[in-house]
Symmetry: C2
Subunit: 281 residues, 2 copies
């Protein structure tokens, strides 16, 4: 009992039910209410993180989102990212790498998107694709993708050392739920643009992907950059859970508004002395 939100979700993916609700709100109404409350908290915490960086602070947060197609990466960005000031966000989407990107080390394009101090970065897919699709589709030899586990944990602990707190969420859905969501995208002309024939190809390799996810999470779950498995068959629960993990992480960071680097009383006096010529207009 008295588990933290993060403890509740930091479990092997094989042990998490995509429809599970191991902690927090148990129905949609409660979920929406608790999400709104978390929104206010997140908004305040993010403002403090942003302000801290204005004052010279170096800390940032990076939320990595991974999951099968339709698992809700975009939905989390919209519903959870949408809770805070967009000016404090840095969102990066990683699609299949371009030729230029392929010519570089797989972390090259990722390094360029690390959030600046004060920001909450959100990765819509990430360097984990390089041990997921790269493995399942055999894009590189096994020794190469296996070697990447260590490269990733090294990269992530380097980020942590310079003040970037990493929160990795795997949005875990069931194949049944995915089928319904893909079909819904096909049925709705306003959602068809989100559908790609390749989604069905990836779906056909479900078991291979689950195996790739399970090993990737096991090998790269570190205290510096933990993995949280978010039950995502229910969108409201998924949104609440990611927001709760993020809020708990930010609360622990406890970002501080900077002390002024000016004399507050002197500024009050200067302000009182300045009456613009047009003030009476």
């Amino acid at each position: 009992m008295a588990k933290t939100v993060r403890e509740a979700f930091r479990v092997p993916v094989e042990q998490m039910d995509p429809r599970g609700r191991p902690i927090g709100p148990q129905d949609k109404a409660a979920g929406k209410q608790e999400l709104a409350a978390l929104g206010e908290r997140l908004d305040q915490l993010q403002e403090a993180l942003y302000a801290e960086a204005i004052g010279g602070g170096q800390r940032a947060v990076l939320l990595v989102l991974q999951g099968m197609d339709t698992s809700g990466k975009g939905g989390v960005i919209r519903r959870v990212g949408g809770l805070v000031n967009p000016q404090g966000l840095h969102i990066a989407t990683f699609k299949a790498p371009t030729e230029q990107e392929l010519a570089h080390h797989f972390l090259w394009r990722v390094r360029k998107q690390v959030p600046a101090p004060g920001r909450i970065g959100i990765f819509d897919r990430s360097h984990y694709e390089d041990v997921l699709v790269a493995r399942v589709d055999g894009l590189v030899p096994e020794d190469v993708w296996r070697g990447r586990y260590a490269e990733i944990t090294e990269f992530e602990s380097e980020l942590a050392a310079r003040g970037v707190t990493i929160v990795k969420c795997m949005l875990h859905i069931s194949p049944q739920e995915q089928a319904e969501r893909l079909l819904a995208r096909l049925d709705n002309p306003a959602k068809r643009w989100k559908y790609h024939p390749g989604d069905v190809d990836a779906r056909a390799k479900w078991a291979a992907y689950q195996e790739a996810y399970a090993e990737a999470l096991r090998r790269t779950d570190t205290d510096a950059a933990p993995w949280y498995v978010i039950p995502s068959d229910r969108k409201w629960y998924r949104n609440w859970a990611v927001a709760a993990v993020l809020a708990e992480t930010l609360a622990e960071l406890d970002p501080k508004f900077p002390e002024p680097d000016f004399d507050v009383d002197a500024e009050r006096a200067r302000l009182a002395a300045v009456t613009p010529a047009t003030a009476a207009r």
Copy 2:
């Protein structure tokens, strides 16, 4: 009568009362209600713009925010930008140029921040600083900043020609309101980080700034890139007004969801045929 929102705000800055409400909601309650309704509309329009670009569309929107300190540029980003999916936003803040930026043409750093197709870009200050503070503080000779009016209109019509719809909003506040807001920042420890002693220096040059704004707006107000003067002494009215101008602009663009580049029925059949091995798990 029957003015559009954009017509109501496309007036010389000297003719707009910072407390005016020339159109739309007249009290705070109505303003908040109408803003929420606009939010839904903006969210839909932005999703369509984003989708259109996924389908190959080239159109984007650029919202340029200018105004004296405390006029609410950050507030608009938070309250209006916060109404849409953050994934569809590209926010750029232009502070005093760095040495590297000063070594380039003044539009160099601006060109790098032009929103990609499908995005709504928001500029927190912009290339207009180069005819505002540059003029008031004499950072460059008069013939240089005067020459920039033409450079700016040329740049903006070039953007318009390649599909970027430009919406420029000057957030117009009174010097009295500014004094109250600066004092409030000094009084609240959680807001002091937003205060800079330089704000009072700029305030002391109020009349010179108003003159610089008036001429800049007059010389760069074009049909390709119009200026809207937003009465900003009331935050709720300012937020509504910018959202309304943006929504009217997007509605006129009428972005379209792309036609699928695949056979929808064939995909339905493929989807039905794929039953992942783990589906029963």
